[in-house]
């Protein structure tokens, strides 16, 4: 039993059509996703745009309506937002992609970080200020920053403010939705290192949503690969990168640019081979709708979406 468990999660959005705007079909943004994260670990959810990875994160966070499935956190069922106790809810927080647009430019840092505190905890002004200053110190910003506005900070610092807001309620799980995609490499390194530090310090569990496989590999213990709302493969970082089984995963891994220019020719050749294999074996790996099959275990931890063997 994992610390955070998602069972057969489905998030379907209706498509309206026709003259009367009836629901004619559904976009199956998330279509039967199951995952389990152990306490203190980092789980990477990977996919290209439109794969449903962000929707999955938002659904766990309670920001999207869930069509079907079950989400449990530390044994509590938190699927239904209204029934889940506030106390449980606040244990899961989110870090957003864009540190430029996710912080309200008209609010001071104090108000930004104190916002979740004000929602859940009744603190006096002095206590609140003290807590915010502690949080700022924890994320490596000076306590005097409380009176500043977001635009006075650099990208990496802003993302730290976002992190400070997320950890204000001492959550156990953080869902990080592409937390470094909008950042420069050197700032990215800063944020990634910092996320690791606070993970250790606060015993945090991460659901790390991303598309940069280099970053995912660096950060995660387990990885799930999504494509068109379904899982194509799931396994340990080792398994996904060293022995990818699904052609889609192989293609993703092959697309990672190699930082060694002497490998260029080999890399291009390898990529072409994978591309040829992808084109030739597409029908073996995807059903008639171009969707992935159900996951089947190939080892204890490694699951791959393969068709039923006839």
């Amino acid at each position: 039993m994992g610390f955070l468990e998602v069972e057969d999660l489905k998030v379907h959005f209706p498509i309206k059509g026709g003259i009367f705007g009836r629901t004619v079909d559904y976009v199956k943004a998330v279509d039967g996703v199951s995952l389990s994260i152990e306490k203190g670990k980092t789980y990477g959810l990977v996919g290209e745009s439109g794969s449903g990875k962000t929707t999955t994160g938002r659904a766990i966070m309670g920001l999207n309506n869930i069509t079907a499935g079950k989400i449990t956190f530390d044994g509590y069922d938190i699927t239904d937002l209204k029934q889940a106790e506030l106390d449980v809810r606040k244990q899961i927080q989110m870090i957003f992609q864009d540190p430029y647009s996710s912080l309200n430019p008209k609010k001071r840092v104090l108000d930004i970080i104190a916002e979740p505190l004000r929602n859940y905890e009744k603190l006096s002004k002095i206590e609140e200020k003290k807590r915010v200053q502690e949080l700022l110190e924890l994320v490596g910003l000076s306590p005097e920053s409380i009176v500043k506005y977001p635009h006075e900070f650099s990208g990496g610092q802003r993302q730290r403010i976002g992190v400070a807001r997320a950890i204000a309620l001492k959550p156990k799980v953080i869902i990080a939705d592409e937390p470094v995609s909008a950042l420069d490499v050197s700032v990215q390194a800063q944020v990634l290192n910092f996320m690791r530090d606070i993970q250790e310090e606060l015993d945090l569990t991460y659901l790390f949503i991303g598309h940069d496989l280099g970053v995912i590999r660096h950060m995660c213990d387990h990885i799930g690969i999504m494509y068109k709302g379904r899982y194509v493969e799931q396994g340990t970082t080792e398994e996904i990168f060293n022995s990818p089984q699904h052609i889609y995963t192989k293609r993703l891994v092959a697309a990672i640019p190699d930082i060694d220019p002497s490998q260029r020719k080999k890399q291009i050749q390898f990529r072409q081979e994978v591309q040829t294999e992808y084109e030739q074996s597409y029908n073996e790996y995807f059903d008639s709708d171009g969707l992935a099959f159900k996951l089947k275990p190939v080892s204890k931890t490694h699951l791959v979406a393969l068709p039923e063997v006839e």
Binding site: A189, F194, R217, H218, I259, P261
Partner: protein, 338 residues
């Protein structure tokens, strides 16, 4: 040195903020040859895009000093009419975000057709269309006839970027500037677009300036690399030297801050401090100096210049010779400062 296709000499591009001009590109000299990819790498605010816009004459209100020699002719401050003859014909640009780079209200065919007919005034309608269809084919668009009539929002991100590339290569330019051509795209699409660019380079025998922040992209496509920091080039070398034997502290720091599967890193390297804003840029001494404070100030030059340390390998400032990364304990402090 062989006469290059493009030779930039002491280019300085300054923007006016309040009553002063601040140089975003400060004394940059580079050469681009035919059939060569020169990558310009750096983080946001280093001046790499400002450099590209200066070459294309796309800055609205910037002061441009120095020389931009295209095939020996200075194009730094030529008349708009002369510039328009070159732009889109001799030199073209690929933009970062294919969604915003295309006019949302114009059919794809017209957007590509526009650049074709701007430089071939007496083309008939059917000739123009035939050429556009051929271009769409060339950039790997599966149904050119259908795409011809479509609007940008009907295409996927990868297809849109192919259209942007089709526009750029329409008149077979000899100089192609690609400004972060794959940043907005998914990884598998990125590799396809890079392969396409490589093919086109060989096809057209063009010189390509590839502007990017992604070192992986550089390693896979560039012939030569120029690393920019704070408006200046801090290191130039061929791609193998740059990745195999990087010298400038900034280049080395940058390479160490990327997650690399080949190395066993629990912690990534973090460059101390932040990139200074245009107004606060140090204009004297080594511009990277403040970000490597553990290096003794005597290691820096007063007026850092590029030194050719081996043929074709230039490094700015003398500090590289004494540079080493701080110990683990120092790194722990470093990520807290910023």
């Amino acid at each position: 040195m062989a006469e290059g296709l493009l030779e930039i000499k002491n280019l300085k591009t300054s923007f006016r903020i309040k009553d002063n001009y601040y140089a975003a590109v400060d004394d940059v000299s580079i050469t681009v040859n035919k059939n060569e990819v020169l990558a310009i790498v750096g983080e946001s605010g280093c001046g790499k895009s400002a450099l590209a816009f200066s070459i294309m004459g796309l800055h609205n209100r910037a002061k441009i000093e120095g020389n931009i020699l295209y095939k020996g002719h200075d194009i730094a401050n030529i008349s708009p009419a002369k510039l328009n003859k070159l732009r889109g014909n001799d030199m073209a640009m690929i933009f970062q975000d294919p969604l915003t780079a295309l006019n949302p209200l114009m059919e794809i065919g017209d957007q590509i057709g526009e650049i074709v007919s701007l430089h071939n005034k007496n083309l008939s309608k059917s000739e123009r269309k035939a050429k556009v269809i051929k271009l769409l084919n060339k950039v790997g668009i599966p149904h050119p006839e259908r795409t011809y009539k479509q609007f940008p929002h009907e295409l996927s991100g990868g297809m849109r970027q192919r259209v942007v590339i089709a526009i750029a290569i329409a008149n077979e330019p000899e100089l192609l500037i690609a400004d972060e051509p794959t940043t907005a795209l998914d990884a598998t699409i990125q590799s396809q677009i890079l392969d396409l660019l490589n093919e086109l380079k060989e096809d057209m025998n063009a010189g390509i300036i590839l502007i990017t922040h992604d070192l992986g992209v550089v390693a896979e496509t560039a012939d030569r690399v120029a690393v920019m920091y704070a408006g200046q080039i801090v290191e130039i070398a061929d791609v193998h030297t740059l990745f195999g034997d990087p010298q400038h502290p900034y280049t080395r720091s940058l390479l160490n801050s990327v997650p690399n599967a080949a190395k066993d890193q629990t912690k990534l390297h973090v460059i101390q401090g932040i990139v200074p804003s245009l107004q606060k840029l140090p204009r004297e001494g080594c511009r990277f100096g403040p970000r490597i404070p553990w290096i003794d100030s005597s290691a820096h030059e007063d007026n850092p210049v590029l030194h050719e340390i081996s043929p074709g390998h230039f490094v700015r400032c003398t500090c590289y010779s004494q540079f080493s990364f701080p110990e683990e304990s120092k790194e722990d402090q470093s990520h807290g400062v910023s």
